[in-house]
C-alpha cells in the first residue's frame, strides 16, 4: 500500500507545485515508485515544471468521467522509470471532482505506487478539500513571512477538522517545508526565523529550502532544480526526499549564507 502526501499551503505562490515536482523526482531517484497528481483543476502547471506538457493526452477529469482508465492517463517520465505523472485538466473546473471518484482514484494509486504526491491548489475550497480528504500525510509549504504562515496555520486547522483519517480518530502526519529562505534577509532580521515558524505552527519540520534563482529557469525549461547538481535548492530537495524515504539526514544550516567568495569577504571587512 502506498503512502499519500498532500502538498498544501493555503497561500498561493509559495512553491507547492515546485515542491511536489521536486519531491516526486527525489523519491523516484531513491528507487520508490512514485506518482505525482496535479489537483489544481483548471490551472494546470505541474506538467510544465516536469517538462511533460507535450505528453498529456488524458487528464484527471477524463478518469473521473470514465473516458479513460488510469493506465492510459498516467504519464511515465522518460528519464526516470519510477516516476509517473497524472495531469490536471486545463479546460474544466474543480466541480468535476466528486468525493467518491477521488477516493476510488486514490485507492487505485495506492495499490500501484509507493509514494503518491497530490499537488493541491491554493485556497481552501473544493480542490484543496479533495487533496486533504484521503491524505495520510500533509506537507505544508510556507515562506518565512507572516501571511503565508497564517494561511498555513489555517489549512493545518482544516486538515485536523476535515481529513478522513482525522475523522476516524487517527492522526494525519503533518510536516513543514520552509521554502524560499533568503539568508541575506534572515541576516537582516527581515524574515521570520525557523524556530519562530515552528513555534507558531507546531508541526514537525521536514526541511528547509533556500531561495534559488535557478528555480524559475528550471520551471521554464522543464528541468526541476533537483536535477541541477550545483543548485542549493536542489540539494535541499534531495535531502528532504531522502528523509521521506526513511533516511536520517541532518538539517543543513541554509539560513546562513554560504561563504561569499573572496570579494564578498573583503567587502565585509569594510562594512
Amino acid at each position: 500500500m502506498g503512502i499519500v502526501f498532500a502538498v498544501i499551503s493555503g497561500k498561493g505562490g509559495v512553491g507547492k507545485t515546485t515542491t511536489s515536482a521536486n519531491l516526486a523526482i527525489g523519491t523516484a531517484m531513491e528507487g520508490k515508485k512514485t506518482v505525482v497528481v496535479d489537483f489544481d483543476i483548471g490551472q494546470r502547471n505541474l506538467d510544465m515544471i516536469l517538462g511533460l506538457e507535450n505528453r498529456v493526452v488524458y487528464d484527471i477529469t477524463h478518469i473521473m468521467d470514465g473516458e479513460a482508465n488510469l493506465s492510459q492517463a498516467l504519464i511515465k517520465d522518460k528519464k526516470n522509470e519510477n516516476l509517473y505523472f497524472l495531469a490536471a485538466s486545463q479546460t474544466k473546473d474543480k466541480s468535476v471532482l466528486e468525493r467518491d471518484k477521488v477516493k476510488h482514484l486514490i485507492d487505485d494509486l495506492k495499490e500501484n505506487f509507493d509514494y503518491i504526491f497530490l499537488d493541491s491548489p491554493a485556497g481552501i475550497e473544493g480542490g484543496f478539500e479533495h487533496t486533504i480528504h484521503y491524505a495520510d500525510n500533509v506537507i505544508v509549504v510556507v515562506n518565512p513571512e507572516v501571511s503565508s504562515i497564517r494561511d498555513a496555520d489555517r489549512v493545518i486547522g482544516l486538515v485536523d477538522a476535515k481529513s478522513h483519517k482525522a475523522k476516524a480518530g487517527e492522526t494525519v502526519g503533518k510536516f513543514l517545508l520552509i521554502n524560499r529562505i533568503d539568508p541575506e534577509l534572515i541576516e537582516k532580521n527581515e524574515m521570520i526565523a525557523t524556530d519562530d515558524i515552528l513555534d507558531i505552527l507546531s508541526v514537525t519540520l521536514l526541511g528547509k529550502v533556500p531561495e534559488d534563482k535557478r528555480v524559475i529557469d528550471a520551471s521554464n525549461t522543464g528541468k526541476p532544480v533537483i536535477l541541477h547538481k550545483e543548485s542549493e535548492a536542489g540539494k535541499a530537495y534531495r535531502r528532504i526526499s531522502k528523509r521521506l524515504c526513511g533516511e536520517d539526514v541532518p538539517f543543513e544550516d541554509v539560513e546562513n549564507a554560504p561563504s561569499k567568495g573572496i570579494m564578498g569577504k573583503i567587502k565585509g571587512l569594510f562594512k
Binding site: R150, R154, I200
Partner: protein, 182 residues
C-alpha cells in the same frame, strides 16, 4: 418605515458625587467613549456639558428592572474548560464557562468567554472575555476585549497582564511573578 431592534450594552452609573463622577469619566474615558452611559441620581447640567464635550453618549433616569447585583454573569455558567490544543487561524472557541488555554492562540483565531480567562501561551488572535478576571500575555497582533472594552492598546507585548473588574472599573496591571504551574 424601517425598524431595527438592537441589543446594546450600557454602563449604568449612579451619580451621587459630581466631582467623583467627573474624575471617574476622565480616568476611564477611553473605555467609556464607545458606550452608552445610563446615568441615575442627580445629573447636573455641568455633567451633561462635560459629557457632550467628551463626545460620550449618555441618557438619564430611565427605569431599569434588572437587579444591579446580579447583572454580571447572567449568561455565564460555572465550571472550567481546559483547552490543551493550539487555537489555529480561522478557529473560534466560544464558552460560557471559565477557560484555561494552555497553548498558543494564533493570529486569526478567536476566543470568546462569558467566564474568566487564563491564557498561558502567546496570544496573537482575538479575545473577547466577559468574565471578572483575565490573565494573558498579549502580542503586537492581538486584539483584546474585556467586558466590551477594547483594551488592546493599553498593554505592551510579551508581558503577562492581570485584567480584572474592581467596582465596575477595569484594572490592567502587569503580572510580575513567574507562572510556573503549567
Amino acid at each position: 418605515m424601517n425598524v431595527k431592534q438592537y441589543t446594546i450594552k450600557v454602563f449604568e452609573i449612579m451619580v451621587d458625587d459630581e466631582a467623583g463622577f467627573l474624575a471617574f469619566v476622565e480616568k476611564n474615558e477611553v473605555l467609556l467613549r464607545r458606550h452608552l452611559l445610563l446615568l441615575k441620581g442627580d445629573v447636573s447640567p455641568e455633567i451633561e456639558t462635560f459629557l457632550q464635550k467628551k463626545e460620550i453618549a449618555f441618557t438619564k433616569n430611565i427605569p431599569t428592572t434588572s437587579s444591579k447585583k446580579e447583572s454580571q454573569g447572567f449568561t455565564k455558567k460555572s465550571g472550567l474548560e481546559i483547552l490543551d490544543k493550539m487555537v489555529r487561524s480561522g478557529q473560534e472557541i466560544a464558552t460560557q464557562k471559565d477557560l484555561l488555554a494552555l497553548k498558543r492562540i494564533n493570529s486569526g483565531a478567536t476566543i470568546k468567554t462569558e467566564g474568566n480567562l487564563i491564557a498561558l501561551s502567546t496570544v496573537e488572535g482575538a479575545i473577547e472575555c466577559n468574565g471578572d478576571f483575565m490573565l494573558l500575555k498579549p502580542s503586537k497582533k492581538s486584539y483584546i476585549k474585556f467586558n466590551g472594552a477594547d483594551i488592546s492598546q493599553e498593554m505592551e507585548a510579551d508581558i503577562f497582564y492581570k485584567i480584572y473588574l474592581k467596582q465596575d472599573e477595569i484594572i490592567i496591571s502587569p503580572y510580575k511573578g513567574v507562572i510556573s504551574w503549567a
